[in-house]
């Protein structure tokens, strides 16, 4: 459970979830009342392959501290192959961000099925903590968007 301590840094986490597996997995963790921090805000997309690298950069620009992308497990994509493309795209994008010196723990891809409510919650807890440790995103932010 999240302790709303003002002193503690509260990262903003944007989670892109595919409609068929991960969004349903997120719903399941809700149905099972498995807590994860309010820091996580989910955006629904039809498939993980709908997520353009530009969306991820946009999130960082606007003040997100971490971005996580969730999709069906490889081989289980509702659209048969979408997540395979996602995997290559995100591997290369994250590698590039790492190459530019952006903290690698700010980005993540996780495969969460519609049955893995517990995994969804655990992943979000873990990821939020990892980003919290990194502190605010400074290396990839737009100063005009910085919150006062």
């Amino acid at each position: 459970m999240q302790v709303n301590d003002n002193k503690e840094f509260q990262p903003l986490i944007v989670a892109f979830c595919c409609n068929w597996c991960s969004y349903a997995g997120a719903d399941l963790s809700g149905t099972n009342r498995l807590n994860y921090p309010t820091n996580v805000k989910i955006i629904r997309v039809p498939c993980s392959c709908r997520v353009n690298p530009m969306f991820i950069l946009r999130a960082f620009q606007r003040g997100a501290d971490g971005v996580i992308l969730c999709g069906c497990h490889p081989g289980d994509c509702h659209y048969t192959s979408g997540n395979y493309f996602t995997r290559r795209r995100m591997t290369l994008l994250f590698s590039m961000l790492d190459f530019l010196g952006i903290e690698r723990d700010r980005t993540r891809v996780e495969w969460v099925s519609a049955a893995e409510g517990a995994k969804f919650a655990a992943t979000m807890n873990e990821f939020t903590e990892a980003v919290r440790k990194l502190g605010p995103n400074r290396r990839l932010e737009d100063l005009r968007c910085r919150k006062q």
Binding site: P74, R88, L92, F99, L100, G101, R144
Partner: protein, 323 residues
Amino acid sequence: MQEAMINRAKQLLADGSVDRVIGWKRGEFVYDITPAVFTSAEELDADFVYDDFTAANVSKYLVKESKKEGKILAFLKPCDTYSFNQLIKEHRIVRENIYVIGIPGGPKLDAERIKANGITGILGAKNDNGTLIIDTVYGEEKMPYYEALSVKCLNCKSKKHVVYDELIGEDGDILDSNRFDMVEKLENMTAQERYDFWREQLSKCIRCNACRNVCPACTCEKCVFDNPDSGVENKAATDSFEENMFHIIRAFHVAGRCTDCGECSRVCPQNIPLHLLNRKFIKDINSLYGDYQAGEDTTSRAPLNDYKQDDCEASIVHERGVE
């Protein structure tokens, strides 16, 4: 070489095989050489240049030129043929309208690097056994030949023409280029060092768009940076994020399509080593998905439009290299 090229171009124009010729002509200075289209023997005799300063890749110009009426003759250096093939693969140029003559490539000289040695007023230059003898308005100057070479030629990947209708001179081989050495060096730095390195480099960017405009992979009908609906449109970088974003998106857009021709770094007025971003993608693609050279052929699937069921997970980024 220049002579042979002009003669052959004149022949082809005369017998009606081609209607235009794309080559190069001199600008204000001897080293200021830009692509140009010639339509007559007279124009060729007057202006056609091919020398050690002629580095520009004319492939991209063919996107527009090949769609015009009639046939055009293009002289392509080995590195240019890769870009040419890639453009064919993406249906951006009309192959039937182009007659390709493969010509020997570099190494080419970089006037900026000569000037960096304090040598100005350049009138000409030639290599004499590793020493570059430069004729200037102030007399003769010397410098090590190697230090005057264009960065894009230092790690030349191939002397082989992957496409041509005829060749002038001999064809070469694919080279062992060590072109990933610098990428590797950066990979072995800490994240903070890398961040500092790129901040220093990218903060020099003045958003002149030269890299984009010269890039043979950047031929979009409308660039996302010019499109108000794309969400990333911007004309001038107002802060560090936008400097980064422009270059990340540009590199990502050409990932798997970049042939590593090196034009981006060559034309950058701020000398930002932009090719390192592209090479990082190429290196990743090679090591994660198998060797792939964009433009080597016209049929293979681009790595980002392809997948294998047992591809590595994105978490590999977290597991390797230096944090």
